[in-house]
Symmetry: C2
Subunit: 245 residues, 2 copies
């Protein structure tokens, strides 16, 4: 039974997120329906990172086992045909061996959070970036970000409903790039807690605004409670970029 | 009577283009209505480049004379308030002297045309780039573009209904950049003919696909008829980037 690794792009606006929900259509649901239309099989997709409603993906990764031996390019074309008009597409497909698991084989996950820092409301970046009209001090944000790198207890930066057993994670990178009014946070780690990237972003935004000094970050981590940190940044600025296996 | 220079961003999708149309809402109409709501004046906006339906702008420039002497930041804020929910915003406003004219003072106009060259349909770039699934040879496109630089009779590359008196224009730059699946054409000139950037793009795409060799370009220009050149690229890939005064 061949296993296929699928790289997915989606526009999270209007989607309920990755996971099947009773109320609204999710990426998983659109996808599993497209697979059934394509080859008649009812299967379950496994995914590298379950994204929330409104979060986008440039390079989400999923895997699925299909009974028939299709050429990967045909799986991609067939699924893309049946995914329409949902704003989801397979951008790459390949056959992998049965030891590959989209979630458990992942060595590193990369996210990008986009902020537009200007007075004027967002137009071309509406639902695709966080509109922050207060000027942000990116240098201070970088100083603050440095305190987050490495292994920490991230209880203060995970959603209060996060179901991960341990709040200990190792953050490899929080690189902040600025190009005019665009500020991008590039965040990578083996794995993340629920809302972790958005909570990091909301906390660094408070530092950028001057509400907090970078030196507050160790205290925020040490507090080990969600309310010690900044707000959860909105989902539309977050992109699941890629996975390293 | 103070004159204001306004820099505008808009998402062209669903807009009838710049100019007032009886059938559909245009950028000009939304803007002039917002001005009337803001200060009660019925005025006419002058613009650097009239864009077609579906074409976007990051830095379109317009000017308007208002009876009252507002602070530019208040003009910007007031117009942005009244422009909602149209996908148009003033991103910068300044007072200029009465010799400034958005259209006639322009020394150089910059456009960008975005192509996504991949097999998978566009998702996050839907209506924001041209989806070209056939692999393009960017080196050949650059060779072809070199023939377009400088002063030429661009009859073959202007819309058959273009109303400009002369088809002679001087193209300063057609720079083609590639980053993964994204191909960007950066085109600048003092002024352009109707559909000129989109017709250049459609013609260079034919070269990139191997339909034509770069050496055909001088013949296409010499033919002086629209049908000698390639197709008009779709509007959603085109961005009016900025104006130099």
């Amino acid at each position: 039974m061949p296993r296929y690794k699928l790289t997915l792009e989606y526009n999270g606006t209007g989607l309920a997120g990755w996971q099947r929900q009773p109320a609204a259509p999710s990426v998983q649901q659109y996808f599993e329906e497209a697979i059934e239309k394509f080859c008649g099989e009812q299967v379950r997709l496994h995914v590298a990172g379950r994204t929330d409603a409104g979060v986008h993906a440039w390079g989400q990764v999923a895997h699925v086992d299909l009974a028939r031996d299709f050429r990967p390019v045909n799986v991609m074309g067939g699924l893309n045909f049946h995914l329409r008009p949902a704003r989801i597409a397979v951008v790459a497909a390949e056959k992998v061996d049965e030891n590959f698991h989209a979630r458990f084989s992942a060595k590193k996950r990369y996210y990008c959070y986009r902020i537009i820092n200007r007075r004027a409301p967002l137009i071309l970046d509406e639902d695709r970036a966080w509109f922050v009209p207060v000027p942000l001090n990116v240098e201070k944000m970088r100083e603050a970000a440095a305190y987050l790198i490495g292994e920490h207890d991230f209880t203060s930066l995970r959603d209060s409903e996060c179901q991960a057993k341990s709040p200990i994670k190792t953050l490899d990178e929080v690189r902040i790039e600025q190009c005019g009014e665009l500020i991008e946070l590039h965040v990578s780690a083996r794995s993340f807690l629920h809302h972790m990237v958005r909570n990091i972003t909301g906390t660094l935004k408070f530092v950028g605004e001057g509400k907090w000094e970078p030196e507050e970050i160790p205290k925020i981590l040490a507090a080990k409670e969600r309310k010690a940190a900044g707000p959860t940044a909105p989902p539309g600025g977050l992109y699941f970029v890629r996975v390293e296996y």
